[in-house]
Symmetry: none
Subunit: 401 residues, 2 copies
């Protein structure tokens, strides 16, 4: 039996609230063997208190050794098997800018680039144009027509935009046209099946016309395309869990992931304080709150150990405000590890704490990788976390007589 | 490959004995965060000795967060995937009273109720009749004939009885007719497919005639029916493991579960002492012994923490008698947790100890939830426990060359 079917069968209404705080890339590594990780180095009195009062463990995002991107990392935390549901980058990007992707759409990430007279790339980011220049160039791209499909072009920021190709029987098995190098022209798109060849034909025409319409846009003179993706068929949070869910995220991709599973996307502004204020404001209106915190990941990706420590301490500082709301279940975890030592996402299990009245406490007194290893949740699959959240929220009935 | 196929392929005969002691609802919760559970509070010198000499862990009955009923809880311990095999309440009840359910049967739990002149329920349990009154009313029900099916009615106790409808192509997708309320009439049975509609027709006729034949039975004046269920197709213990198994249980449902997997059902009387005496008596005749102890669950369901502690201590007292028999493998576990704090079954992992000469001991010195968290079995799926039992009993050969 499929876990979502099981949940749909067992779930019960309850007047309870679940808060899932995702500190992106939370898990880390010590810089020296036997040393402390970023989380262990950070002074986190409030997270430590949650660990003491709750139950801890380590979340395995996909499988041991598998490093997830943000998509699989979050889908797992939302209780969707990240090996079953695969979400293309184009879809994430489109959802993140509030584009309503439909079943006939292929969504694609676009980058403006600079081409020389021979059509070779001299700057893969077109000098990182301002958002205004981006908008002007997007306006030009919107004049492009390709027979047989509808095209939508939306600005993202700097050199980035989104193209959506809408039409009948379009596939998404198309290569990225970004050669990841300068001195060469963008690659030709090719589809690996008939439906994807239709998409490839359309975007090749689009890219060729783009060079024409961008003639007067200075360094913004060409486009590369990547992350071709169709919308996966995925049940919403409401359908699976019966939860009215709100996403309180700053960055587009995380809004996009939340929108994909049908959460209401709130606009908290750009600060953690704004996110917590938003949480308070909408507290009465939802059952589930996904609060995404980006900076534990971005500092890790930068390889900046002390900055990651500091960003974790900033998150710690708002924990009392969240606890003060009295969530029935509070979870703090990450979608994956991002050790500053590795300057990238990693496969290492992610420190996780769950706080609820029905917790079996475990003697863990500190929120950190080593301490969580001794926690009552053990090492668990991320996709099982929502089962625990539902159970502790009194929202899952008994299975079988 | 299916685990049962694997076991059938690898199993080897051996002259070894396995004892599985199931303390129903064994796992608990502390009343206060950081406090002790019922098992940790209980003085259990003998179980502690088993923990010291054996290997401990925590069993996850179905999945994290999933609270099992007795059926899935026991099937898991017996090594049957509780998400694959689903056993209806009617089947359990029928098996528990020794009724030989067959492939053409739909088994149903019946409750006597009291109906007023308008046919509305005034007491859902008909004043909890004595077993004698129950038997008299069942005798009346046995006079009912419904064309096209054979009917069997068996007393259980107080207001409870079992009906088995036997016939061709009968389905079990029929709603409970107990409205779970007074002041309303029993619900009409409805089937959700053609086969189940045949069953619903038959039981609606049965229920209507019941009102007639019960006219002179005082408060026992009507019936409600629930838990419609057919026998699942399930391989026996002998077929899967090659084990000649005996069940030493007091309560009907657990006998029923054991009968379902083909165990011999012994009658130990009503006491734990009687169960252990029975174990001694049949020691030579079987390879596997399932000893079920109910009172760690019932006291938990009552929310009576000290009573659960006391009942666990009673179980502890018989452990030396069981060890004295020299089982090659002794397991003590539970089918699920029943924290008295929650007054119900729960999803929390269940303390488990396995004792055998081939154990890798783990430094656990006490049988309790926190100590088991540090045990050598880790947190494991209940359905894998029988694999360990078979291995430690020298009954599983090598997989692959």
């Amino acid at each position: 039996m499929n876990i979502h079917q099981l949940i749909q069968e067992l779930r019960e209404p309850a007047d309870t609230k679940i808060v899932l705080v995702v500190a992106d890339g939370l898990g880390g590594l010590p810089l020296e063997p036997g040393g402390k990780t970023e989380l262990e180095t950070a002074a986190t009195p409030n997270l430590d208190a949650v660990a003491r009062d709750g139950v801890c463990g380590l979340s395995v995002p996909v499988l041991p050794g598998i490093t997830p991107g943000s998509g699989p990392g979050h889908l797992g935390l939302f209780g969707y098997d990240p090996l079953e549901y695969r979400i293309g980058r184009g879809i994430l990007e489109a959802l993140g800018i509030n584009f309503s992707v439909g079943p006939k759409d292929v969504a694609i990430r676009g980058n403006f680039c600079t081409l020389d007279a021979a059509g070779k790339i001299t700057d893969r980011r077109a000098g990182r144009p301002s958002n205004e220049k981006n908008a002007a160039a997007v306006a030009k791209l919107r004049t492009i027509k390709v027979p047989g499909v509808e095209l939508f072009v939306e600005p993202v920021r700097e050199h980035r935009f989104v193209v959506v190709v809408r039409g009948d029987d379009l596939g998404d098995k198309v290569n990225d046209t970004d050669p990841q190098a300068t001195g060469v022209p963008p690659l030709k798109a090719e589809g690996s099946d008939p439906a994807s060849r239709r998409t490839a034909d359309a975007v090749n025409q689009f890219a060729a016309q783009a060079v024409q319409v961008l003639k007067d846009q200075g360094p913004v003179s060409g486009v590369t395309l990547r992350g071709f993706a169709r919308l996966p068929k995925i049940a919403t949070f409401e359908q699976v869990y019966g939860l009215k869910a709100a996403a309180i995220a700053v960055y587009p991709m995380y809004k996009g992931l939340a929108r994909l599973v049908g959460m209401d996307i709130l606009d908290p502004g750009g600060t953690l304080k704004g996110q917590v204020e938003t949480l308070k404001k909408v507290w009465a209106d939802h059952d589930f709150f996904f609060l995404h915190y980006k900076y534990s990941d971005s500092t890790g990706e930068d390889g900046n150990f002390p900055a990651k420590v500091q960003m974790i301490e900033k998150l710690d500082a708002v924990i009392p405000d969240i606890r003060a709301l009295g969530p029935d279940v509070l979870i703090v975890t990450g979608d994956h590890s991002t050790p500053s030592k590795l300057k990238s996402h990693s496969w290492h299990p992610v420190p996780t704490v769950l706080l609820a009245d029905s917790c079996r406490t475990d003697g863990v007194e500190e929120f950190g990788e080593s301490a969580c290893l001794r926690g009552g949740l053990g090492q668990f699959q991320a996709q099982h976390l929502m089962l625990l959240a539902m159970a502790h929220a009194g929202r899952l009935g008994k299975y079988g007589a």
